[in-house]
Symmetry: C2
Subunit: 348 residues, 2 copies
Amino acid sequence: MAGRITSVEVARRAGVSRSAVSRCFTPGASIADDTRKRVMDAAKALGYRPNAIARSLIAGRSRMIAVVVAYLENQFYPDLLARLADELQARGYHLLLFTGPSDGNSDALFAQILAYQVDGIVLASTSLSSALADECNAAGIPVVLINRTNDRAGVSSVTADNRNGARALADFLLAAGHRRFGYVAGSAGSSTNQDRETAFRERLAERGVTEVLREDGLYSQAGAAEAARRLLGRADRPDAVFCANDHMAIAVMDTARHELGLRVPEDVSIVGYDDVGPARWPSYALTSVEQPVGTMVDLAVAALLDRIEGREAAARIARVPGELVVRASARRPEHGVVRVDGRDVWRP
Amino acid sequence: MAGRITSVEVARRAGVSRSAVSRCFTPGASIADDTRKRVMDAAKALGYRPNAIARSLIAGRSRMIAVVVAYLENQFYPDLLARLADELQARGYHLLLFTGPSDGNSDALFAQILAYQVDGIVLASTSLSSALADECNAAGIPVVLINRTNDRAGVSSVTADNRNGARALADFLLAAGHRRFGYVAGSAGSSTNQDRETAFRERLAERGVTEVLREDGLYSQAGAAEAARRLLGRADRPDAVFCANDHMAIAVMDTARHELGLRVPEDVSIVGYDDVGPARWPSYALTSVEQPVGTMVDLAVAALLDRIEGREAAARIARVPGELVVRASARRPEHGVVRVDGRDVWRP
DNA sequence: ATCCTCTTTGCACTCGTGTGCAACGCAGCA
DNA sequence: TGCTGCGTTGCACACGAGTGCAAAGAGGAT
């Protein structure tokens, strides 16, 4: 407000037409060097900035990407968000943030996203990923899911290689001599949770262990603490627990130690998934399969921008491998752990 | 793309003019009931959504708020961000996220923010808060700082009542019998850090303690761990350490316990500020002054929207009090701790 | 039946910028 | 000198919606 400067003022001051001003700010447009200089001088003197809103309107592209997240208390998501913002900013895009609706009403959210004419959408693990992804895809806006997949055609996704990660954890725990297993699950609808659980069970079954006790943690710490009480409070409690993510694993460890009086890993081994910051804190020293945030973001952004900018029309499904990082929250097998780049990792 | 539906199509299908369509989506506009119904039916049938970009252009207001954050690994900020997003969404605004530039170049950031014609700006603890705030304010865009203040006129801010919180911590530690104090500082330029440190020292001095050992933690966990090594490694180490925030306090606790072999709180009491999620985890049980995120966000949003929507032109400076929450990371005074709403708090 | 009032509607202009098209100027060449 | 061609420039239209103004219509009072 208060006298915004438009290209008209700049044009007048530089003694050229408004078109010339526009061309100065359009890469690749035809403009003489000295004209450009005159315009740029006038623009600087007046403090002119092209209006991105007007530009979006005419260009039909807003250079904004909608990002929908939930669970921001799980440190994996802030990390993801920070890298996403950096990466998009570096490529000249901007991040419109939406939080997953607590009221489960995706329609209002969808309407807002569409109204802003975003060029693409990143969905990071909200309970309504699938529905939203389908709607947006149907509306012709490129979508990429992070940390979720979706069977529908046309929707890109980037996840960790959850199946192989969970298999590695199974092997790791078996190698340490464990035989009684527990699993603390995330939300049942989450494909990531399903992949991790199924592969973990399958691998154990392949090696002769068919029973795995299961409790729901629902991706929350309160839920995980409850699960830990049920799982570890029983007489025939498991001696190894795989939690669907680190966020829950931390709550499970705290409950085991401070509430149930168990020693970790002497009484029970606990492993997680994600390798988030707190997993590295010495109080937890959580053994966990890393989910490489940087790589995942790079792939997601590439998949999205390749479609937006017309380089590739097809949806892309990426699965990113991660190391099993060995720390002190689980019994350590005698063989198979090697030191790489300052970390102990499982390489059987 | 692919045949976006505009108000023209809706108007044609409903057999009215484009103006009528516009008025249907403008609250308070004059429109007959049955016309509205015909238009709404047509809009629904075609899947029409008003284009927020075009609307912003003509209205001169984008209903977008730029939010600049850094330090997303400190859980306080994800919490803040989540509430901010919810609150803004609920009021019909949208959040354009920017991460503080690592290259210290605020000009590029400033240009991008201005280009998008945001209606307001929230600056949450970036190193360049002051410069950016002044520029935006000069450009006529309402600004509110969270967790920082700025002496300049015209800039609103919301902080905790850092001075009183720090004084309470001083009293609390003195009451527990401590006499040798250490302080792990945040970034020197941060007003929050200055307020906390100054008030802590002043209160101790009032009560006869003039020496406080000081180390820089720079708001990072690596920096705090280094500070802890220097501070607690010396022979005459302090027996009580106040860390400028919880994020650093956690690193200091871990370093003390797992690296230096100290017992907390028997050998050293550690207190922080913010009362973030991890402070409540039993492994830390950090005594800390809460920074009430919900209240702070509410005040910040109110201050911003009151200016944007013209209800109030003046900048507003808010200081929010918070409880000193007593847990197990610091020695507990014999008197003064009471139980309120399921928490132990310091009420001398 | 006439006049007045109030509601509803459409016309036309506006927001700030991108861009196709045609005109212009200048240089090079025959 | 006259023609061709290329690089520059301005005109005018477009993007999609909000809104003041005046005309049209409905309804009531006289």
